[in-house]
Symmetry: C2
């Protein structure tokens, strides 16, 4: 073996680390698979993954079959421009303008392979080595990967631990002359917390103040895959209406239950400073990463399904049931209005709690993965039956932890 001990440079070590270290979520996922083999699917309560369980709306099937049956296959499956088909981008812009009273422009929409690619591309387009990118703890772990891939430095802002909004005082402290952008994610993964208009106003006011103080542009990247997953009757505050230098990443993964199809977009607010330059850089960043265009079949589907969503009633039902039962057991749960996650305060240290949960066939992600301690994330995008049957395990787990805590 030529390699061992001599030529460690066959691979890029950073990439190897990213590829070989299993994330806590994947680790759980694998353990869950083992448990299911041993105890059977129905006896394992897998709350680890945000994989939608509600079928796509029937129109997805109808539209796909119609396109494949009737559209010229050369056009249906051919390249679009890197930004995406202009009719698709226009339909999205028109939809957003009507739905959110926004003023978006199709020329500033770039179709992507889901929101993950969108965030990775947007960061690469904007960030220079050493730029600081702010995220609110707890946060989706891949933000860190994408920020670092772009050469940026991750800066975390503490949460207000009552409502799990950002700690505004800490946000002010953390913005410096090196701040390139702030990522927000509402409804939030992992907490489920929704930032209503008041919260968004507060955040953007701070950004505006700091833009003046440092005499520079600070960008706001709003990552919105859970935009439609709201359990309160409040309007969704669309960021371009509140802040000039804003960028939105979106995915149809959760709203249409199509996570594997990787279809989404980046929207640059037309009135952003340097919007044109930013959009060009997004095109360049996509190009550098080997994105050629978003899958054309799914691009062509978009204009016909905008505004539709999967049936979210199963999530709503799961959520209500879990909140009631878990709180009656004694669990403290962060108050949240969206997505399909509950963030549960752990009666003992969170990794130990997650380990013990496994012994009760409960799969819960410890919050350390999200940059914070003392909680687990419960993804309730599962069958109602799973939810109902899990309560007994939650109860034994709680009693066991409390008993041990009182020793």
């Amino acid at each position: 073996n030529i390699f061992v001990g001599k030529n460690m440079q066959d691979i890029n070590e950073k990439m190897n680390k990213l590829g070989s270290e299993r994330s806590a979520i994947r680790e759980l996922f694998e353990k869950g698979k083992e448990l299911k083999k041993t105890y059977g699917e129905k006896k394992v309560f897998d709350f680890s993954i945000g994989n939608p369980v509600s079928s796509p709306p029937k129109e997805v099937k109808e539209v796909l079959i119609d396109l494949i049956t009737n559209k010229n296959p050369i056009e249906l499956h051919g390249y679009t421009s890197a930004q995406g088909d202009i009719f698709v981008r226009r339909s999205i812009s028109e939809y957003l303008n009507e739905k959110y009273s926004a003023e978006t422009n199709e020329e500033y929409i770039y179709m992507t392979s889901g929101a993950a690619a969108g965030i990775a591309i947007a960061l690469k387009a904007l960030v220079n080595v050493g730029d600081e990118v702010i995220v609110f703890s707890p946060y989706f772990p891949e933000y860190k990967v994408f920020i670092e891939n772009a050469g940026g430095v991750v800066i975390t802002v503490k949460p207000d631990e009552k409502k799990f909004f950002p700690n505004f005082y800490d946000l002010k402290e953390k913005i410096t002359k090196n701040t390139k952008l702030l990522i927000i994610n509402s409804p939030n993964n992992p907490t489920g917390v929704f930032y209503d208009e008041e919260v968004v106003k507060k955040i953007t006011e701070i950004l505006s103040e700091k833009e003046k103080e440092y005499d520079k542009n600070i960008f706001l990247l709003s990552d919105e895959p859970y935009r439609e997953l709201l359990y309160v009757d409040k309007k969704y505050p669309f960021v371009t209406n509140y802040y000039k230098n804003s960028i939105v990443t979106y995915s149809f993964s959760k709203s249409l239950s199509l996570p594997g199809e990787r279809i989404g977009y980046i929207l640059v607010n037309e009135s952003c400073n340097n919007a044109k330059k930013i959009f060009e850089s997004i095109c360049g960043a996509g190009r550098s990463m080997g994105f050629v265009c978003a899958t054309t079949l799914f691009q062509h589907m978009i204009p016909k399904i905008l505004g539709l969503t999967s049936d979210f009633s199963v999530y709503k039902k799961n959520r209500q049931f879990l909140l009631e039962k878990l709180e009656s057991i004694g669990y403290e749960i962060v108050n949240s209005d969206g997505a399909f996650y509950l963030f549960i305060k752990t009666p003992i240290e969170e990794k130990e709690f997650s380990k013990r949960a496994l012994q009760h066939n409960l799969l819960l992600v410890p919050s350390e993965s999200f940059g914070i301690k003392g909680y687990v994330r419960l993804a309730y995008c599962v069958d109602y039956e799973t939810v109902v049957n899990s309560i007994k395990s939650f109860k034994s787990l709680y009693e066991e932890c409390v008993k041990d805590g009182n020793k």
Copy 2:
């Protein structure tokens, strides 16, 4: 405007350059669109883009409709693991082993969004800053983008200008202790040249010699989107059969005429030194760029269409017709056996030739984009009618150039 003259750091300038500078190919594409508006579709002979014109095999339609109609949509459209569905990877491995008498292993196949993503990911996985990556001139321009994105240095090897195989003497010269890998692409874009077994043996012998000389691994990345597009009855020399440290990138874009659907794979030869580490690094590189998984619908299609191709007879017909007619006019054309490109020696400087061609409504890409002078690339993946009607223009263009050359 906060930005102008003060804060040039809003964006990443490298990405902006990549996104704002139009490639020569795109430039031509845009000019072609204008010409078509002025003269009508049928009067413009667009040989600029490698966009397949032959419909996908009918089985693509059948399989897609069957999957959408009958498969559980949660599974059909759900996430797969980042590497791709194991059944899909197994089917590819089995297919390759049978077709090419290869010894591939499904565990070392990573499904990607087409070959471009595959190359970008593989390079990012292997290359460290300053590593040298060798390409054979003329080469697909995006190789340079992907190599530089990974921090590598592009080293070009001259062609043997008779057959447009690599110049083996130059290849030996260019391999140094810093060489990380060599990219080959056969059948070739832009020349159409096919490297038969003899050529592949020659290349891999040189690599093996140099591995010994420098006592290090030198990887061979074989980019094979045109693998099935062969107009001679010769076997395709599958690189893992000839060289241990080899990696293959593949796309179904050309073989199935699905360029917009972005489905392909990376294969790491199982007997590669450090195959496991390399594969992990590929997973990490994909992750860092926001690839979550290859589109699941198209992944699920793969096992059912392996070995099928579009009807290539239109390309064959175009090729024969063009070769005969253009050579009888006086053009010198590189002898080639595959893909859907002709590489034509220009009677005058190639950019000037391409400009003059435009005046005859002929769209031909000057070879400078491919890292070499004195040629244009003609992509004959167009209607036969376009080919036939273009000859008059080729004739006038040639006569005009020769006349001017003789002034």
